[in-house]
Amino acid sequence: MKSFLTSRVTSTFLVLAGAVVLWSFVSASHVFPPFAVPSPIAVWHAFISTWTHGYLQKTMGQDIVASLARVTVGFVGAVVLGVPMGLAMAESTIVHRLIDPFLQLGRPVPPLAYIPLFVVWFGLGEFPKVLLILVGTLPVMVISTIGGVRSVPAQRYEVAKSLGARRHQLFTRVTLPSVLPEIFTGMRVGIGVAWGTLVAAELIAASVGLGWLVEQAANQLQTAIVFAAIIVIGLLGFLMELTIRTIERFAIPWRGRA
């Protein structure tokens, strides 16, 4: 287990290091102009300068805090609403019939498309941005929760019934613990979706945030800053996924073993 983990960490590191080396060669060869492919050094400098002096009056730290806050609130909102919605839909045909059409219709719509509406309804503040992330992530949580309930092995219910469980006990003692693994899978997918929606959310008249930074820097052909912001988004998304995975290990140690 230990050597497997270390070797995986090592291989990831080697792959990334290789990519940086390749990237250096490509940018040094000047096949592409520097504004299209800045060198790793230039990106590092852009990062440091944005971190210490800021870009358009906002430092990288402020952008990170703003984006982390939006993603976290939107994501947590999607989990807090999505899991009970999924449970209710799986348990009740009526609830399922009421909600499912909206879910099916809403799912293929890219979050970008909601922006004009949200601006008209909710203005330009933080609420429409967070709401957009929530709306983008919600279906993932609902669908994985429903899937979790549907895939509970029938025998788990029969064992409980045979020991005298009533209906509500089947739900609390069997369904709830049984869906946990699928909820965690949903959260791991969902956190990616939430970050994906962020850039769209920060198109709504934002003045700070990583998505806003990407957008502004791109408009001014500051590609090195765009690169730096993208890498930071990737790292933050990865760190949040890692956090969820760590919680998962403690919350459901039986995953994959039963």
Binding site: Q155, E158, V159, S162, P177, W254
Partner: protein, 278 residues
């Protein structure tokens, strides 16, 4: 009055009249304290019969009376032990065993839980997670989870079917000992002829399509029994009769014309390791 009685019970899935009934006119009485084993070819309806008695499913004909009352759903008086232990992975052994007691009331008699864990020989493993236990230990835990409810009837569906030969043999001896110590009524399904004879006070053999009970006799082997009992001539006589009955049943089920072929095969079509050893 018997603890369990089945009157002309039948079961049919779907509305297609072309399909044979899964069970047809099964009538049966099981007395308090009896250990009934049920043998039959694969697909003859053993599990279906057990599920009717458990109350998981309603029969399409006849009635099932348990302790003077018509069976209309599952109850902790008739606890089922399945082939797969089915322990809850989020609970440790102690809490798995206490599961049924917790459903009844908030306060659990933990002494009873500890005692039952001791009875099935798992003392010291109370805090283990199910996936930390071997297959045989898991099955003992599942048995403890059932026993702790003091069920009037224990329904067991091939409980040792998923275990390796050696563990199965140990579990059989364990059940025999348990039977000497506790006053249990057991309805025990198996596809192992020797297991059925060794454990049962009485053995039923079922035939398929439609599922019926074609053999129902007391097994008059002295108790206490052990694996050594399987070597006695009395045991072998019963075994031969069972195999012959099963042979006829299997011929009917599998379309065999040759009795010898049918007899050399186990009734699910595979030739069993036990047969080869014998």
């Amino acid at each position: 009055m018997s603890l369990l009685s089945l009157h002309d019970v039948s079961l049919r899935f779907g509305n297609d009249p072309q399909r044979p009934s899964v069970l047809e006119s099964i009538s049966l009485e099981v007395g308090e304290g009896e250990f009934v084993t049920v043998l039959g070819p694969s697909g003859c309806g053993k599990t279906s019969l057990l599920r009717l008695i458990a109350g998981f499913q309603e029969s399409t004909g006849g009635e099932i009376v348990f302790d003077g009352q018509k069976v209309s759903g599952p109850s902790a008086e008739r606890v089922v032990v399945f082939q797969q232990a089915g322990l809850y992975p989020w609970l440790n052994l102690r809490n798995n065993v206490a599961f049924g007691l917790k459903l009844r009331r908030r306060k659990v008699d933990w002494r009873l839980v500890e005692e039952t864990i001791d009875i099935v020989g798992l003392k010291g493993y109370e805090s283990y997670a199910p996936y930390e236990l071997s297959g045989g230990m898991q099955q003992r835990a599942a048995l403890a989870r059932a026993l702790v409810m003091s069920p009037r009837l224990l329904l067991m569906d091939e409980p040792f079917g998923a275990l390796d030969a050696l563990t199965r043999q140990r579990m059989q001896e364990f059940i025999l000992e348990l039977r000497e110590r506790l006053d249990l009524t057991i309805f025990f399904i198996t596809h192992d002829v020797e297991e059925a004879i060794l454990l049962g006070d009485r053995m039923l053999i079922m035939q398929a399509e439609p599922g019926r009970v074609t053999f129902d006799e007391d097994i008059r082997l002295p108790r206490p029994r052990s694996e050594a009992t399987t070597l006695t001539p009395e045991f072998q006589v019963i075994r031969q009769r069972a195999l012959q009955t099963l042979g006829r049943v299997s011929i009917a089920a599998a379309g065999f014309t040759d009795l010898d072929t049918a007899l050399s095969l186990n009734f699910d079509g595979s030739s069993s390791a036990r047969e080869q050893r014998a």
